[in-house]
């Protein structure tokens, strides 16, 4: 059990490392509670939440820009809930309970859904290992072979390189 948990944590850490700069973007939109101010929520406050939700009747379009009637109603629900003093998390949870996990932009991190987050980094890691092995082999060989740069097979490029080298040398001397 313990080991399993540890390995899971490691995976989370790994995804974090990979995505750090881009997580920062996401953190800017931290939730706020609007109702206390007494003012009705603005369209922008509604959209801030709607942006993170996806309605089943228009696939893959976030709720804030979905033009259908059903989506307009959903936005009204968000407004009503904001007026009632709910915060962002509560509203999202409400939508999940009503309409299922598919309203979220990403699958909730549990059960089988972990695969979404874990598999691509594992693949990438595997690829990295393969590349590393390839290059390590190369290095081993390098110590035995003295290798010169491969000659460009394009005569013009070769010529350019020669000219440039010459120019640089002249520049240094003069």
């Amino acid at each position: 059990m313990g080991f399993k948990k540890l390995s899971l944590n490691l995976v989370i850490k790994f995804t974090n490392i990979l995505f750090v700069p881009f997580m920062l973007f996401a953190l800017i939109g931290v939730s706020q509670v609007y109702a206390q101010s007494g003012n009705p929520p603005t369209a922008d406050q509604i959209n801030a939440i709607a942006k993170q939700l996806y309605c089943p009747v228009c696939e893959n379009t976030p709720l804030d820009v979905c033009p259908t009637q059903a989506c307009a109603q959903w936005r009204d629900v968000i407004r009503d809930k904001l007026v009632a003093g709910w915060n962002e998390e509560q509203i999202k949870e409400y939508f999940v309970n009503q309409y299922g996990d598919r309203v979220l932009a990403e699958p909730p991190k549990r059960g089988l859904n972990w695969l979404v987050y874990v598999l691509p980094p594992i693949f990438f890691l595997g690829g990295l290992v393969l590349v590393y092995k390839n290059i390590k082999n190369a290095r081993k060989l390098e110590s035995t072979i003295t290798s010169a740069p491969i000659v460009e097979d394009d005569p013009f490029l070769k010529e350019f390189e020669d000219v440039l080298r010459k120019m640089e040398e002249n520049g240094k001397n003069g």
């Binding site: 089943p56 259908t68 009637q69 059903a70 009503d80 309970n97 009503q98 299922g100």
Partner: protein, 183 residues
């Protein structure tokens, strides 16, 4: 550079088996998905699993309590114009059948919001149990594509008939239900 005498270094048996297993697994997945996509709604004659409906009044009605009865499941939404065409006829049909104790009507609000659903029920004076499709489980079970759609389950718990789109008249509803009662 190619040396004819070097023995070919092929892949190990395990790698080959794994490669094929992944490919076949992927194909199986696609095939399965395709079959589901092609299947469309639940087929007539197929056993319909039981489900619970939490009504807007807070009661829980379950199809498992209604074995041996004919169950009419209607999917609708307040934002759906065609649904309004059939709403009054469905209620009239319910008034006719409710006396017999043979037929039960369930209304399921698909991807709808509660206040609007309630207003809709009030507007058309709908009296049979109606409730939201929580987590869209019921509509997923029936593989609903849109609203309105109506499914009729026979006394054996199998799907007897379904209608995609609105009923045009009370007569049409009765013509669909009556033969199923007699079965």
């Amino acid at each position: 550079m190619e040396n004819e005498t070097t023995p070919k270094k092929g892949l190990s048996r395990t790698t080959i088996i794994v490669a094929f297993a992944i490919l076949l697994g992927f194909l199986a997945l696609l095939g399965w998905g395709l079959r589901n996509a092609q299947a469309g709604p639940v087929q007539v004659g197929q056993k319909v699993p039981t489900f619970d409906l939490t009504t807007f009044d807070g009661e829980v009605v379950s199809t498992s309590d209604l074995q041996g009865k004919v169950i009419v499941v209607n999917f609708w939404a307040s934002w759906c114009k065609p649904c309004e065409q059939e709403a009054a006829d469905l209620e009239r049909a319910w008034q006719i059948y409710k006396e017999t104790d043979d037929v039960y009507f369930f209304g399921v609000a698909y991807v709808d919001i509660e206040p609007k659903s309630r207003a809709y029920i009030e507007k058309f004076n709908i009296t049979y149990p109606n409730g939201p499709d929580l987590r869209t489980t019921i509509s997923t079970m029936f593989r609903v594509r849109g609203v309105p759609e109506t499914y009729i389950i026979d006394r054996q718990g199998k799907l007897a008939a379904f209608k995609i789109g609105p009923y045009s008249s009370l007569g049409e509803i009765q013509a669909m239900i009556d033969p199923i009662i007699l079965q």
